[in-house]
Symmetry: none
Subunit: 241 residues, 2 copies
DNA sequence: CAGTGGTCTAGACCACGCT
DNA sequence: GCGTGGTCTAGACCACTGA
């Protein structure tokens, strides 16, 4: 079952094996899984290695241990948090709409002062500027204008971003995990330029969103200015005490 | 340093020792701590045990490891949450503005269907309806329309709510602690009626907020429909992964 | 190259819970 | 009592980093 010659560690292969058992339904929520010694014997690996695999799954919430009893498949989690940090792509998918984009601008630029401040860069540092018309089920929803520090994500300029989630790219190629974002929402009247793209009368109410996104190290890596059609887009969020 | 006869596991004692070093300032954020072998030798324990102590501190965020380099004390975390569940009163105070209100309506009413749904009450259950014009430094900011279940907060009708925080009343007299709220924001054009109150041209962009607030037992106790002037009010929030 | 953390073994004894 | 997970040892070899 496990490949001793694989570059992947044994405990990692075992983790995947267990996750497979669970997602295939062989091991169901609440079930007791075989004991650590049994698993070790089955795959001919030491108990320590087995424990490492199980330990990680426990800390990830997939399994839970009961001293003297056994290890059990956890009940599927329900995440009460309704609002998570996501990009437009995931956002629309979650609403059951098909996201797409039209790239309006995509180039190197010198950042405006407020962008420098938010991204903690100097004014002569170049940024990648990306302006996209966002559509849901083919209908215009809004316009994103995004700034990324060039020296951090230089390769981004080579990508075709029409229908791609930038967040997935950043995680895959740059090990940048969007972790937290601060945003400001306000209601403004639509300028003639935007009105043309959004196919609404000028002066229509639109939602303006400014957002700074931070990575896993609390470094800001993305500054967004976005506007969304007031008649089509509702922003949902949650506040806590 | 470690007590071999203690009922506390060695790795746990070592964890406390390391945490002590950090909180006492002997090991500062960014410092490299002694290697796993060094620590093991110092306390005469195996590397496995040392690794377990360090491993837990890593997963708790206190330490971080770099392969081939060493283990380091993490930078201290700050509570980054900037947005908390608050009412208009605290909100304005936080922005350095003086909040006040003009009560436009305050009476018993039968709730509209969507309010029943959100508050989990039946359509024939009475609610307290409170409509207030909200001002900051004497300038109109928005209008709140709030529904409270009558059978829960009957005494509320006796209060003078012009410049009072309802949340403080609820906590003091009804042991109701606002704990979480779900909200939806959108951008709409101002109706003539609201325009008069807000002293803006009709059709101006305004921020519409729908909000349901839950108490410490996850029971919804308040349903708000509010509108705020787009030119004066910016809503700030935070999203997490 | 030396030193670090990453993985792994083959044992051992203990504490817990069930029956 | 027996099987479970919890703790611990004394090794081993590997992969990565920086000098």
């Amino acid at each position: 079952m496990l490949d001793m010659n694989s570059p992947l560690p044994l405990y990692y292969q075992l983790k995947e094996y267990i996750q497979g058992k669970i997602s295939s339904g062989s091991w169901k929520p609440g079930d007791r899984i075989p004991s650590e010694s049994e698993i070790g014997a089955e795959f001919n690996i030491s108990r320590t290695t087995t424990r490492q695999a199980i330990g990680e799954l426990v800390s990830e919430g997939t399994l839970n241990r009961k001293h003297g009893v056994g290890t059990f498949v956890s009940l599927p989690r329900i995440d009460k948090r309704i609002t998570k940090l996501t990009g437009f792509t995931q956002d629309m998918l979650a609403r059951g709409l098909k996201p797409s984009s039209r790239v309006l601008e995509f180039q190197l630029a010198l950042p405006p002062a407020h962008v420098c401040r938010e991204l903690c860069i100097t004014e002569d540092e170049q940024v990648i500027f990306l302006k996209r018309l966002r559509l849901a089920d083919g209908e215009p929803m809004g316009i994103d204008m995004v700034y990324y520090p060039y020296n951090r994500f230089a390769g981004l300029l080579e990508e075709d971003l029409a229908d791609k989630s930038v967040y997935e790219l950043l995680q895959g190629k740059y090990s940048t995990v969007p972790t937290r974002s601060e945003m400001a929402l306000s209601s403004i009247a639509c300028s003639p330029e935007y009105a043309r793209y959004l196919e609404i009368p000028r002066g229509s109410p639109i939602l303006q969103i400014e957002r700074t996104t931070f990575d896993q190290y609390e470094k800001p890596f993305e500054q967004i200015l976005a506007i969304y059609r007031g008649d089509r887009y509702i922003f949902r969020t949650e506040l806590f005490k």
